[in-house]
């Protein structure tokens, strides 16, 4: 028995070692940022590129970051932005996904593919037309204006259509026999069974909008409505001089902290939502 076990153990250890190496490689940028944020000489210097701390750590960069930025305001604005975007998206993608998955009407396929074309458009192309629409709607320089263009999500609709299609029709038919209307079917049968799909979409949406820079920069003028990414750039950008890497690292860690904490806390649920799709 014993030799056999050893034979298995060797490749296992090798696999573990390889995995560790990959994990280390993937986390390098994060580790570097962590080290850089505590480095005393944060404008560079020979040790700047080093991944291993070779200094007495200091909280100087964090202190500057806290002093320089209006963090509570920026966090609040970013939080409003992502929740406002996601809340409406969840309603629209569920309804649209349901329509494309279950209702039959003429030209459905064509309309669906036309809808998917949205995914092909690069967002910068839409800056001027979208801004024009916002000005006409009176939403220029508002957080709602930043959210609005994302309320109809082609990706989300596609995802929900696929998720609904994996749910057997028998479930709905049973509910309909019991006298349920279509929205009751959607609310009480389809949506609870689609939670993994909804969660997966929510993660993608929240991370994307939390980190987005260009579009909020275009829409928002009022400093009181500034979001985290624009705020960080406003005090940490450098083109003609050099950048204070320590300050940038500390600021970036602030920005990613909520997402990082959420991911660590709900890791299992997150992974499951991507692994499972619909009903087995």
């Amino acid at each position: 028995m014993r030799p056999e076990l050893k034979q298995w153990a060797a490749p296992g250890a090798l696999l573990a070692a390889t995995m560790c190496a990959v994990v280390f490689l993937w986390s390098t940028p994060f580790l570097w940022m962590l080290v850089a944020s505590f480095r005393p000489d944060s404008f560079g210097g020979l040790g700047m590129a080093s991944l291993f701390p070779d200094f007495v750590p200091t909280l100087k960069s964090y202190r500057y970051a806290i002093e320089d930025g209006d963090w509570p305001l920026w966090f609040l604005n970013s939080a409003i932005l992502v929740t406002g975007t996601l809340a409406v998206q969840l309603v629209t993608i569920s309804l649209a996904g349901y329509a494309f998955a279950r209702i039959s009407f003429p030209g459905k396929e064509a309309l669906f593919y036309l809808f998917l074309l949205q995914l092909m458009l690069a967002p910068p192309v839409l800056i001027v037309p979208n801004l024009t629409t916002l000005v006409h709607l009176g939403l220029y320089d508002t957080l709602i204006g930043v959210m609005a263009p994302y309320w109809g999500s082609a990706f989300g609709t596609f995802l929900m259509r696929q998720t609904f299609r994996t749910i057997p029709k028998d479930f709905e038919e049973a509910a309909i026999i019991d006298g349920a209307t279509w929205w009751q079917v959607l609310r009480h049968v389809l949506l609870p069974l689609s939670l993994p799909g909804l969660t997966a979409f929510s993660i993608v949406s929240v991370v994307y909008h939390w980190n987005e820079f260009l579009w909020p920069l275009m829409v928002i003028n009022d400093p009181d409505k500034m979001v985290l990414t624009v705020g960080l750039v406003s005090f940490a950008q450098g083109a003609e001089g050099a950048s204070d890497w320590g300050l940038i690292a500390a600021g970036t860690l602030f920005i990613m902290a909520p997402l990082f904490i959420a991911f660590t806390a709900f890791q299992r649920q997150f992974v499951n939502s991507f692994m499972s799709s619909g009903v087995k």
Binding site: G44, T132, D222, G241
Partner: protein, 429 residues
């Protein structure tokens, strides 16, 4: 008693509401140097708002120079033209050609613009004018300048900063240590900086980079530009005193601070930053010459977009003239390291005291006697990029020749300029 205080409150309310009726305008500004500048700019805006009650300026941070152009242009096209924008100085020509910004005559009212522009250094005036009109008011300007580590110079036995290209190469060879342990010279070759420095080298090589009076012509495939391309490339591949490949401005300043580079070329806009962070004895010098001393202007100017109301135009002017006053422009220069484009700023006592204490701040001003305008053509960014792509290729590929690179840059730039040339110079009916 009660009645009287109620009337008093009402009157106070009326006064307050008339104060609220101040014309509100937006001022979009980028932060091309450190973020510290964007906070200082917000402070200036607050100071202006507190100084009077007719105009309320909202300071809007807009990212980099290029993002500022995208944001203000998109806002204007969407029907929300910004009243004042701090724009890269060489974009004004293109914005004026496309009819997006208004000539300052429309804003200035009773101000004698001609007399006002006379107060600015002659070198910054061409970029502010287009087709005989003033389209922008210079605010923060720069030239490329040579920063060098005096301790390294002493160690290598070099007495003075190089003045000619031959001395420059010689010094770089003496300063460099083998295998990139220390570089003799480093220059940023990322976009924007790259084209600016190719222009600086071309001018120092006796040439003219573009046609400053007709925005449809560029001189890439000419001897002076070819020589500039070859000279820069040779630092990396022939003399091996500069790293090969593309180096951005942050790498350059970091290498300088850490003693990995003995000489660097950067904007004078980085001067305050270098002064604060260099922990060794440094100095600044003119860009070395081959045929003549000459550098292009850089930096940013204030423009106003088309489509604002008369009241907004008036408000914009009151802010522009306040911000570009000798006192404020001098304050900004001391804070950043940019030179003050308004000559009169240097007559003020604070400025005299400052330059006496920091003589390095005068180098860019002295160099102004030899400065010329910054490349400004039809579709400036694309035309600039044509030569930048080739310069980057030259630094990366030792096999590529400067002749091929110059010819390709010319061909690509001409393609970009073709529509304008055909509409104007080639349209002969």
């Amino acid at each position: 008693m009660f009645f009287r205080s109620a009337v008093g409150a009402l009157c106070a309310g009326l006064i307050a509401s008339s104060a609220v009726a101040a014309e509100r305008i937006e001022f979009m500004f980028p932060a091309p140097v450190q973020g510290k500048l964007s906070r200082e700019m917000q402070k200036l805006v607050k100071e202006f708002n507190a100084s009077q009650s007719d105009v309320e300026v909202v300071g809007v941070f807009t990212g980099s120079y290029d993002e500022t152009k995208v944001k203000s242009q998109a806002a204007a096209e969407a029907g929300k033209p910004p009243a004042v924008v701090l724009m890269s100085a060489n974009f004004a020509t293109e914005l004026a050609m496309n009819d997006l910004i208004v000539p300052m005559e429309q804003l200035a009212g009773d101000t004698d613009l001609g007399a006002m522009m006379e107060e600015f250094w002659p070198a910054v005036r061409p970029n502010a004018h287009f087709a005989g009109k003033v389209y922008s008011i210079p605010f923060q300007n720069s030239t490329p300048i040579l920063y060098y580590n005096k301790e390294h110079f002493k160690e290598a036995g070099i007495e003075m900063a190089p003045e000619t290209w031959a001395e420059w190469v010689d010094a770089a060879k003496k300063l460099a240590k083998p295998d990139g342990e220390r570089w003799g010279i480093m220059m940023p070759s990322n976009y924007d900086y790259n084209g600016w420095l190719v222009q600086a080298l071309t001018m120092a090589n006796g040439g003219q980079f573009y046609n400053p009076v007709y925005p449809g012509e560029i001189y890439y495939d000419h001897a002076s530009t070819q020589g500039a391309l070859k000279f820069w490339r040779d630092f990396a591949h022939q003399h091996k005193v500069m790293p090969t490949g593309v180096t951005d401005s942050k790498q350059v300043s970091t290498a300088f601070f850490s003693g990995k580079a003995s000489m660097i070329v950067l904007s004078t806009g980085a001067l305050s930053f270098v002064r604060e962070n260099a922990k060794f004895d440094y100095d600044v010098a003119f860009m070395p010459r081959n045929i003549r001393n000459s550098v292009p202007i850089g930096g940013a100017s204030l423009v106003s977009f088309k489509g604002t109301s008369d009241a907004q135009k008036k408000a914009a002017w009151s802010f522009i003239s306040w911000l570009t006053s000798a006192e404020k422009i001098g304050h900004w220069s001391r804070f950043t390291g940019y030179f003050a484009p308004r000559q009169t700023a240097y007559d003020l006592p604070e400025m005299k005291k400052f330059v006496a204490e920091n003589p390095d701040a005068l180098r860019a001003v002295e160099q102004l006697a030899y400065a010329g305008p910054w490349i400004a053509t039809y579709n400036t960014v694309a035309v600039r990029k044509a030569v930048e792509d080739e310069m980057q290729a030259l630094l990366s590929d030792p096999e590529l020749t400067y002749r091929t690179a110059a010819a390709r840059a010319q061909e690509n730039a001409d393609k970009v300029l073709a529509p304008y040339a055909e509409q104007t110079a080639l349209s002969l009916q």
